[in-house]
């Protein structure tokens, strides 16, 4: 249950709404019981031909109770839902706060992208906890206790039957349902995940599967998995249905018990016959409140599972920096030193970076080139302290990154990552991310520098920059970096989607601004590297060559051969 701690905290904060909704639910429940008991009593009383006014009093009472019940139910719904949504908001914020220090280390294990959507879904799933799990038993117990007190006035033994009924519906039946349910749900989840991965893989690999004639076989496997999933789901639903039927039977059984015991007690003279109809009606109604208990196990399981996954995600990822007090000074160009740096993603069978040693002096311009998957981007993430090396040491200005405060590094660095994120808003919002204020003139100036003169500052940007082309996104990301005052430039293929002409223009502006700063540029094309002080060639996590353009060309090594191949490239590469 420790997983639900976050949840309980959030619930405590909403105690006012919770108390109000509990009161509402209680009154509604009690009013319902009273209403039906009163009508039972009313009918019974008529047998004795009482004066008409008793009848009128009782009848108006019945109507009043009806209205009271509907009204308090309304209040209950309102308050409980408001509490739920407020809790959801608290959960989101507290979870976001927890994730901040864990990013991007958290993606080490799970890079398949849907982790984010899962987190959102799980947080959302927790909202059912209060509404369907934590709160119905409270109402049920309260209404039952009140009904029991009431019936105890008439007969101790009948009150006992109510106790048994309450135990049965609120604990025994849900308990039985919970038994074995965990395993069934686990199986469904596994089957579902399996089917989902297989369908995804079939769609991604469609072309290869079709050409290699494997589609029919795949389809057969998928159909099998789908049928298995449906069977599992049916089994679990059948289990829940059995629980619900058991619940229904227990409630009927209690009414029967009340009737049978009432019969015995009336014979015995211990109970006045006039109350029998009332008690039977009460027993039939009080369980209406307990109906929510029949679906409780399913929700309980789901929210516990969601909470467990969330806590696992958060706990399993160690926060990266703990004691880092040193600050990187922003007013000087940064020197970089890597010694024996190795980095391996969790679950992969070889390191992404393997024993890298490299020195980059302050104020120099370095290009990193190499085939895809050679570890270039990982290198930049290590420099930014977004990831921690498995072995070796990264030093900035001679200070180990371990001792450096990461926010200091970020303040000093002007970064463009391969995938830049854009937020829903305007171009201006996305340019002013770091919270500094710039005059519009300055922003327009930067936009023209990155060859985006046609964009207006008020143009809308959709979620994830969906309405921008790849080239526009890259230029906007560069503009964002150029608005910063850091003296360390870390650029990961910032112009890969631009055509040669635009690329050269943008880079020219960039180099002008970065004069005197340390600049690290990962690039996919080998053109224009003559201007760099040094070129680092990487392959499979290792540095295979370093030197200036002319040195490397003279050596006729790896870089030279890459260049020869690129010179042969036609078509796509120049687009």
């Amino acid at each position: 249950m420790s997983e639900l701690v976050i949840l309980s905290k959030a619930m405590i904060r909403e105690r006012k709404d919770i108390v109000l909704s509990i009161i509402g639910g209680f009154i509604a429940g009690i009013a319902g019981v009273a209403l039906f008991s009163a009508s039972g009593y009313l009918i019974s009383q008529t047998v004795f031909a009482p004066p008409l006014y008793t009848l009128i009093v009782l009848a108006s009472l019945v109507k009043l109770l009806g209205l009271l019940r509907a009204a308090s139910r309304y209040g209950e719904r309102l308050f409980s839902h408001r509490a739920t949504f407020s809790m959801l908001s608290r959960l989101r914020t507290s979870f976001f706060a927890k994730l901040i220090p864990l990013t991007p280390g958290i993606w080490n294990k799970n890079r398949s992208g849907d982790l984010l959507a899962r987190i959102v879904g799980d947080v959302e799933g927790l909202q059912h906890y209060f509404l369907r799990v934590a709160y119905p038993p409270v109402i049920v117990v309260m209404v039952f206790l009140a009904t029991m007190l009431f019936t105890a006035f008439f007969s101790f033994w009948i009150a006992c039957i109510f106790v048994l009924g309450m135990l049965g519906t609120a604990w025994v039946v849900p308990g039985i349902v919970m038994l074995g349910q965990r395993k069934k749900h686990e199986r469904i989840r596994e089957q579902r995940a399996l089917l989902s991965t297989d369908v995804t893989e079939m769609l991604y690999g469609f072309r290869d599967l079709k050409v290699y004639g494997q589609l029919a076989e795949r389809e057969r496997q998928l159909q099998q998995a789908s049928a298995a999933l449906a069977a599992e789901q049916q089994r679990a639903a059948g289990h829940l249905l059995r629980g619900q039927s058991m619940h229904a039977f227990v409630t009927l059984l209690v009414s029967w018990g009340v009737l049978a015991l009432g019969a015995y007690l009336i014979m015995d003279g211990a109970l006045a016959g006039v109350f029998l109809a009332m008690l039977v009606m009460a027993s039939l109604t009080v369980f209406e409140e307990a109906a929510a208990m029949a679906t409780l196990p399913a929700y309980k399981q789901d929210s516990e599972h969601a909470a467990k996954r969330l806590t696992e995600t958060v706990l399993a990822t160690p926060a990266q920096s703990l004691h880092s007090s040193c600050k990187l000074w922003a007013d000087q160009a940064v020197s970089i030193e890597l010694s024996g740096v190795t980095f391996q993603y969790e679950g992969e069978w070889r390191p992404a970076l393997n024993d890298i040693s490299l020195q980059i002096s302050s104020g120099s311009k370095t290009a990193i080139v190499g085939p895809s998957g050679s570890g270039k981007s990982t290198l930049i993430e290590l420099l930014l302290k977004l990831r921690t090396p498995s072995a070796g040491d990264v030093r900035l200005n001679g200070i180990s990154a371990k001792e450096l405060d990461e926010t200091g590094i970020w303040e000093t660095a002007n970064v463009v990552l391969q995938q830049s994120h854009f937020f829903r808003g305007t171009i201006r919002d996305n340019l002013l991310l770091n919270g500094e204020e710039y005059a519009d003139g300055k922003l327009v100036d930067v936009l023209s520098k990155v060859q985006l003169p046609t964009k207006s500052l008020t143009d809308a940007v959709y979620e994830k920059g969906e309405n921008l082309s790849d080239g526009e996104k890259q230029r906007l990301a560069l503009a964002r970096a150029m608005l910063r005052k850091g003296r360390l430039w870390l650029l990961d293929e910032p112009t890969s989607s631009l055509d040669c002409v635009t690329e050269q223009r943008v880079l020219k502006q960039l180099y002008e601004q970065a004069a005197g700063d340390t600049l690290l540029l990962i690039c996919h094309r080998l053109a224009g590297l003559e201007e760099m002080d040094r070129i680092v060639v990487m392959e499979q996590g290792r540095v295979v060559e370093t030197g200036s353009y002319s040195e490397l060309m003279e050596q006729k090594g790896y870089f030279y051969k890459m260049k020869q191949i690129e010179l042969q490239m036609i078509g796509e590469a120049s687009a």
């Binding site: 009313l42 009848a59 991965t197 290869d208 050679s374 990552l417 829903r424 040669c500």
Partner: protein, 584 residues
Amino acid sequence: MKRKTSLIAKQLSAQRKRLVFLAVISLALGAAIVSQAALLAEAVQRLFVESASFSSVAMLLGILLCVMAVRTLLSYGNGKVGLHMAAAAKTNMRAAVLQNMTHASMPSALCGQTGGKVSIALDAVDEADGYFSQYMPRMAEAAVIPIMILAVTFVQHANSALIMLFTAPFIPLFMILAGLKTKNKAEEKYAQLADFSGTFLDSLQGLVTLKLFGRARRQQQEIERSSLGYRDATMAILRIAFTNTFMLESIVMLSIGIVALELAIQLLVFKSMTFHTAFLVLLLVPEFYSLLKNSGTAFHSGRTSMGAIRKVENMLAETIGAAQPDEFMASQTKLLPMPPSIELDNVTFRYAPDSFELKAGRISVKPGEHIAIVGASGSGKTTLLHLIAGLLKPASGTIRVNGTPLSQQYESLWFERVSYITQHPYIFAGTFAENIAIGARRNVTRAEIEQAAEEAGLAEVAAQLEQGFDTYVGEGGRGLSGGEKQRLALARAFLKRPAVILFDEPTVGLDLHTERVLQRAIAALAKTATMITVAHRLYTIRHADNIWFMEHGALAASGRHDELMESLPQYAEMVDVQRKGGLA
């Protein structure tokens, strides 16, 4: 009430027997509910009014217990039938979706939205569950039982039945009203809601960026603000729904109260009825209303399901006509000899009515010829290759292989002879060996696999690994470099020894080793095959027997390299731009 989608109709007609079952069980259930009330009333009448002895009601109580058990069993049975229906319908619908996906032609498979399609196959189909497992049984009950109760009440005491008859229509009315009003309000606030709920995901996705810009903490406040905004917008919608429920419950409660009052007056003032009748009616009334209320709830969940089913239906309708399995196996001889000649006869194609059109004109490839397709990006090179591969169906014109039109019935024969090496070969979740073995349709020996890997330059990669070729590579080839994936695709081709090679030459990002392997391997494979390459390397182009130069979706010219350099300025320019190293 509303148009039933044909998919639902199809699913239901397949389950007609179960529907009859539902109706029969509902009838029996109605009988059980009525008898339960009658027995209860009788028991109370005897005990209270007639002061009968305990033994005289013992029998009655026994029957009552049995009826209660039967009632529980019957409603369990109804639920069970619903579950069977749901399972069958889900399996059928998912089978249709999966079949549709695997038989789809390339456009629908390539046009992306993989996530959306997976969600239809899983989420939408699962959501359809409610329609069969909840909506149908509840509706069967609601159609039968309230009428039975009403009939019994009419016989017993017509006045109460009239009250019930008069108030009952208000329940569906308010349900529908509530549904419509909330729907309108929800549509009105839709953009706002989407905006609020998106912020959390948006912020999580951009967390790295936010961190780098020192904005993470501030975004936290933004999330809180938008979550509370979401709450208020949702509450505004819910308030309407709750108000309607309030009205509805008031009506139910008041109706019950009126029935009770009328009964009391009949008993007391007119003394025209027995206690037994009055109590029976009083027991039946709440059953009546709660059944109606349940059907309302089921109606709402049924509507959600119906929406999901419509999604499935739309997806099936969109790609209709694509799914026709191989009808018969044509005689092998038609495609022989190998390597084949290929002719394109005025083939045209377009992805969507408003997208650009590919016009290939008349071109032919001699057996064993090597063709290079050249052109700027977006000129239709890959589309042309897809058409020749048979992955896309031409809008008009025909593709002939050895003079026989390439049509559906030859598909599997054709693919037995073809290797298509793409720029981004897909690596499936499985071991190295399994991924190579996909290349061949027959059972292959371990030695053959290792031989193919050796020829594709993969052997040394496997040698570095503890488990060698049994190393598990995750879905999409996680952990493999681009070059290694390319070599794996080559190994598949080596295993297959195709008569036709279709090759989309990689543009950038390969290591030198792979580049060397690629040249050597392709040359070896192409010796005995007809080969068509989307070419990006001068080397490939120079060695091609014929070059097709594509421009704006049309074949602009063809010929050998030297010829085109002379006759076609666009071609010469294209070749030269890169050799000068861009503008630098």
